[in-house]
Amino acid sequence: MAKEKKNSSMRTRRIIADTVTHIVLAVLAFIWVIPIVWIILLSFSTQKGSYVTSFFPKGYTLKNYVKLFTDIQVLNFPQMFKNTFIIACFVCVISTFFVLSAAYCYSRLRFKMRKPLMNVSMILGLFPGFMSMVAVYYILKAVGLSEGSMIRVALILVYSGGAAIQFTIAKGFFDTVPKSLDEAAYLDGATKFQVFTKVTVPLSKPIIVYTVLTSFLSPWLDFIFAKVICRANAEYYTVSVGLWKMLEKEYIDNWYTSFAAGAVCISIPIAILFVIMQKYYTDGLSGAVKG
């Protein structure tokens, strides 16, 4: 009898706990999702100006999207998109090469400077990224990369130049590739370079995809370098600078809803890439050869 009572009281407690959990989760999920819902609604809103009176717009239209892609007199969104895309492609190739080769050297090859180089990379990673921004700008100016279409080259170099500092995740992955595979290849007379390209790289798909995606995304997510290097050259803006500009005092009245449309257009592909990236990141963490 007593046992039954205890059981039923435990069940009640569990049901209460479950209900509370689900309510809490629902409230939290609501808080996290609501701004996203709102920006999507806003991107279809018919209202003018930046003053909003209600959560749901008074009417729905596609005009904001049309304006975003056709009104290219003041803020040329398609151009910004193209700029960012070109930059991202180059950065992606260069950074991936830099990161993977540095990580492979630190993980697999043994040489005198290995630990010092790793430590220096760590230390450099601690400096606020744009502390040296002013200096980078002067250097680019001194070699003639700060004007005209060279700005794109400058941005590519800035995003990918120091990429090899971020080697840790890739190195962690290479550390899990069994060394016995390398040794077997050496016995067959392979050079170290062949081991890298024919043994390690094919086994490292998750981390390669992860590196490719992170470096492809960096120009889309960065704001501050693009702003400092482009300055007033509107035709070389990347999307982040452009979207930021739309909310500045002189543009906000005309561009508020188009900002929402632009944000939605950018966020959807980035979000998809991000989710793919997370999948490969988790795969990468669990090591190269599954036991």
Binding site: V99, A135, Y138, G161, Q278
Partner: protein, 458 residues
């Protein structure tokens, strides 16, 4: 630290050092000190020898053509200002082009870098000359140029693979940093109109920033205080709340785990600058939240989310939670599932409640595993430029101050350099930020398991 270096020396023992070359080398090897590549040339390593010789000639030509002037300018700085000169023949004033000290500094530092690179090549040349001399004496095989090239994809693969990445790091990270650090010791600033011509001033700027006697110094200490408060709150609140969220979703009886996770990951997937700009427009005086609250009759005047100092500080921390919690959740979910279940069973048998279990088992275990992650987040938060710059821009700014109430050291650094053009003070602030971070992280990093047993897996 000294121990580590000693161990490494043994591991890569190399008898052909520069010292040995000077002490024991023959005449040709010693002459290589003056004529680079001579040792290689006399032992039929023609291409290698010519390369060394080429490096020497190129360096000397460069130094004669402008390198020495660059170094001289680096030491003296200063220079001629732009002047008006009366041109009699044309009857107009002409402007002589004045010097620009910032270029002196940049070229000087770049020349120093080239000189260091040359010294490295010089040492390599001596070593190579001595090695080839010893090999010839012992009758060992002397590498032809072809063999050397083959080595580059085998024994010296690290040279090939690291050359490009480290060139990038040198030019785009180290050179600008050295350049910036140099600025900290100059008078390069809008103060006293020192933007085109400035001089070395020693440690004066450090005194300005660290002293309490002037407005910059006072601002520094208050900004530093807020930066630390912000970093602690942002890191630990994110960590604990994110972990709690993960635990709640992971509970055995929680339904639709995938759906809940998706809701939170969605906000993490959106580019940060988009969600931050969005939040800013929502929290403005006439933004959505205030309008909705006023329409509902809950408040009469807009809430000062981003305009009142205390409100703004709380708001940025809360919004950072909105941005950061999903990331923490994603990071810790996997680790949480690795906590041995027996620990929980044992605790339950002993009659521990959920709170006790969390603080006595989950939290200590997680802290043990995720210390490196915590360190990165902490340093990331101290350097968290985006959240502050895009949300408040440091506002509210007290009258006459260079920093606002929500400015972190990094955003203040940005304002000092880009807006105010106090480059020297900005550089000092950057260096001080770095010093704190470097000590904390290097010490912690050296004590983590992943650094000590990096080959534990193999």
């Amino acid at each position: 630290m000294a121990k580590i270096f000693k161990k490494r020396e043994k591991e890569f023992d190399d008898p052909y050092t520069v010292g040995a070359a000077i002490k024991n080398g023959n005449a040709v090897t010693r002459l290589s000190m003056l004529f680079m590549g001579l040792g290689n040339l006399t032992h039929k390593q023609i291409v290698k020898g010519l390369l060394y010789l080429g490096i020497e000639i190129a360096y000397i030509l460069f130094m004669v053509q402008g390198g020495i002037t660059n170094l001289y300018h680096l030491i003296t700085l200063g220079g001629r200002p732009q002047e008006e000169v009366w041109n009699e023949a044309k009857g107009i004033y002409e402007y002589t082009s004045g010097d620009s000290t910032i270029l002196f500094l940049l070229y000087g530092v770049a020349t120093l870098f080239l000189t260091v690179a040359f010294l490295v090549a010089w040492c390599a040349n001596l070593k190579s000359a001595y090695t080839v001399e010893c090999f010839a004496k012992e009758g060992k095989h002397i590498n032809s140029f072809k063999d050397d090239l083959k080595d580059l994809i085998n024994k010296r693969l690290h040279w090939t693979l690291l050359a490009a990445p480290w060139t990038g790091i040198l030019i785009f990270t180290i050179l600008p940093l050295v350049f910036m650090i140099c600025m900290a010791f100059t008078s390069y600033s809008k103060v006293d109109d020192k933007l085109t011509i400035f001089n070395w001033v020693g440690l004066k700027n450090f005194g300005t920033v660290l002293g309490m006697g002037n407005s910059i110094g006072k601002t520094f200490w208050s900004v530093l205080g807020w930066t630390l408060i912000w970093a602690v709150f942002a890191t630990f609140l994110n960590y604990i709340l994110g972990m709690l969220l993960a635990i709640i979703i992971n509970r055995k009886t929680t339904r639709c785990k995938g759906f809940w996770r998706f809701c939170f990951i969605l906000s993490a997937a959106i580019p940060q600058f988009v969600s931050l700009l969005l939040m800013r427009t929502m929290l403005k005086d006439n933004g959505l939240i205030n309008v909705l609250l006023m329409n509902a009759g809950l408040i009469d005047s807009p809430l000062p989310f981003l305009t009142d100092a205390t409100w703004a500080r709380v708001t940025v921390i809360l919004i950072n939670l909105w941005v950061g919690i999903p990331f923490t959740m994603m990071q810790v979910t996997g680790i949480l599932q690795n906590i041995p279940g027996e620990l929980y069973e044992a605790a339950k048998v002993d009659g521990a409640g959920p709170a006790t279990i969390f603080f006595k088992i989950t939290l200590p275990y997680m802290l043990f595993v995720t210390t490196p992650y915590l360190i990165t987040t902490f340093t990331g938060n101290i350097n968290n430029f985006n959240v502050i710059f895009l949300l408040t821009g440091g506002a509210p700014v007290p009258v006459g101050s260079t920093a606002g109430k929500t400015d972190l050291l990094v955003t203040w650094l940005y304002k000092l350099t880009v807006d105010q053009q106090y480059f020297n003070v900005g550089a000092v602030v950057g260096i001080l930020t770095f010093v704190v971070l470097a000590i904390v992280s290097l010490v912690t990093y050296h004590n983590t398991g992943s650094y000590k047993n990096e080959e534990g897996f193999q």
